[in-house]
Amino acid sequence: MTALREVPRAGRQLLGSISHLKSCQASLRRCASTEAAASRPTIPDIEQESGLTAPIVTREDVQIVAPRKRASQRTHELPHERYRYHPPKYYRGPLHPVQPPPPSDPVARNFTPGPFNLPRLKHTFHSSVASDIMTLTYQHTPPGTPDTPERIRLREWDDSSPYMKNRPKRGPRGNDVLFPLEKDITWRNIPEIKAIHLAMYLPKAKKNRDHIIVGKSVLQTITGVRPEVTTTKASVAQWGIVKGDRSGVKVSLRGNQAYEFMDKVIHLVFPKIKDWKGISGTTGDSTGNISWGFDATTMQYFPEVEANYSLYPSKMISGCRFTLETTAKSDRHARLLCMSLGIPFYGKLVD
């Protein structure tokens, strides 16, 4: 069959020389590509100016005489389009045809407004800290170096029984938790601030409920987020705590709020602490989260508390635990981020 298929081509080659329907000479050919190259296009491929820098519509473009006056005189909301989209009441899973809009969409049921500004610390991070971290942690591998295979941490089955076929691999011996592996830092995974968690333990709240109220108001004042009340997880007779008691408050900040709060802590709170050495070098949960504590006297250095310190019953103000959650996968990288943002560490550094 293949031989038969080749026949027309062979024939064309044989007859091609005598055919009068030959294509014209190469020198005389006019190609579209050569002509396009000769005449430069007047319109550039990529738009040079960003559309964000200038408003697209100016006042001169609008024909209305006094738009503000007209808008203020309007007594009713502008008529909607005929179809108004209402997001579904329930999330029915990723495969359902009707999906809820993202929470940044104002029509979404769980719409959360924001962002309201670009945090100062984020400016610093993107303009200088990120590139410095990348330079500091660069590991040169000469071209042609073979990739080192990833260490296999899951244990394989030894296939001594037919039932072991296709079984998922077992976890490590002794500890069933696999800690994240530290990857080399590239432009894709520069450690960043992910979240900040503040928690107060208020054991005295068992006797006097006011401790919870004061703790909540302090945390809400300094973070701007409504705290949650936590309960005791287990009863311990010696400590006089009972399971289910309301015994603390906590709050989590994410995204821009976390950056703003971190900025406040680094530049306003830390410098005011007396005889402060820095953060202990042994802190960290070995997965890139750094924790420390603020004692009761430090809480009054937060500018919001400092402004009206007399408003709080001073004996009821308690310290809090502070956890900085980063996108780093190891304490080493998280500490590098902290140091470049201006947090000193003291003592032995433990990874």
Partner: protein, 343 residues
């Protein structure tokens, strides 16, 4: 590398210092020395080992090293001191989000922040009334719970979301409106608050490119003018017994003096520039090529001082990325541009 072998290397390095022709980092790396015969043969056909189109990465031989001079340079930068100006779109977007937030949040409880019947409380009440009983300072006359709450979008040409306007409002708001007697202050008694310094400095107005307090929201780079009049980053030859970062530190000191508080970021180069060697007709070397490795430095305080520098430099400038592009040759800028931040 084990500690013992490291010590051994250091000792052997001391012993063979006289005849050593290998640089420090190559010596510690795994390096297979060529025999003397092979080296002599390779020198004879050195020109064949230039990178060609067919073979862009010719094999590394001992002879090829002789064609290039290894240099180490430093790109000294001053990080931006200010945040950047936001675009009109960003301002309008943030403003709109603030109004949307105002529609959803719980009302502001001023009793949580101001004790009743104190001066601060009275001060807040005066300003609150002036704003038309709106707690938020920067969203204009917008009543989030009112009849016209739906009318939350900015009209074309509105200056409500301007950064400058919001800054003025906050400065006005910071003024104390209560006298020491606990009464509302007269307009002539109000002391205006100290204004923040201008984003545009004296050096910007006079365009003094030698000052460090210009272009506060941009990264500045130290550029020096050599004795031949060419603008470049300070660089010098690397001796065989020095690492790149050691040379870079030395270059900075010999070029711009010691009156600077600097930090060399890491020990790895961030950019490199290769100049190919030139050959005569008879394949002998006419001019050596250059390989310049640039390290990154940050200046925290001080100023460059070229008086009595050892590199014969004439002048220095602190320039932004765009200004560098005009001063440097195209190849030079092309080789260093990727280490530069957007801002």
């Amino acid at each position: 590398m084990a500690a013992s072998s490291r010590g051994g290397n250091a000792a052997s390095a001391l012993l063979r210092r006289g005849q050593s022709s290998i640089c420090a980092s190559c010596r510690s790396a795994q390096f297979r020395p060529y025999s003397a015969n092979a080296e002599a043969a390779a020198t004879a056909e050195a020109h064949h080992l230039k990178p060609t189109e067919a073979q862009p990465h010719p094999p590394f031989t001992a002879s090829r090293r002789a064609e290039y001079r290894i240099k180490s340079g430093i790109i000294l930068t001053r990080a931006p001191l200010l945040t950047r100006n936001l675009t009109p779109f960003e301002n309008a977007f943030f403003f709109y989000q603030k109004r949307l937030n105002e529609r959803l949040v719980l009302p502001f409880r001023h009793t949580l922040f101001y004790k009743k019947d104190t001066a601060a409380d009275l001060d807040w009440r005066i300003k609150f009334e002036e704003r038309g009983r709106i707690a938020a300072k920067d969203i204009g006359r917008y009543y989030a719970q009112g009849r016209n709450a739906w009318n939350d979008e900015l009209l074309v040409g509105s200056t409500l979301s301007d950064e400058e306007r919001i800054r003025e409002i906050l400065l006005k708001d910071a003024e104390n409106r209560v006298t020491e007697d606990g009464e509302e202050a007269d307009p002539d008694e109000i002391v205006p608050v100290e204004r923040p310094m201008d984003r545009i400095t004296e050096a910007d107005k006079t365009n003094d490119v030698r000052r460090l307090d210009r272009k506060l929201d941009r990264t500045l780079y130290l550029l020096v003018q050599g004795s031949d009049g060419k603008w470049q980053f300070p660089s010098e030859d690397v001796p065989t017994d020095e690492h790149l970062h050691e040379t870079a530190t030395r270059v900075l000191e010999s070029a711009a003096g010691v009156n600077m508080n600097t930090w060399i970021v890491g020990r790895v180069p961030v950019a490199h520039l290769v100049t190919q060697p030139e050959f005569n007709e008879d394949t002998s070397l006419k001019q050596k090529g250059e390989k310049v490795f640039f390290l990154k430095g940050r200046i925290m305080a001080g100023q460059a001082d070229l008086n009595g520098n050892k590199l014969g430099l004439q002048d220095f400038n602190w320039l932004t990325k765009e200004e560098l592009k005009e001063k440097l040759s195209e190849d030079y800028f092309h080789s260093v541009r990727n280490m530069m931040a957007d801002r």
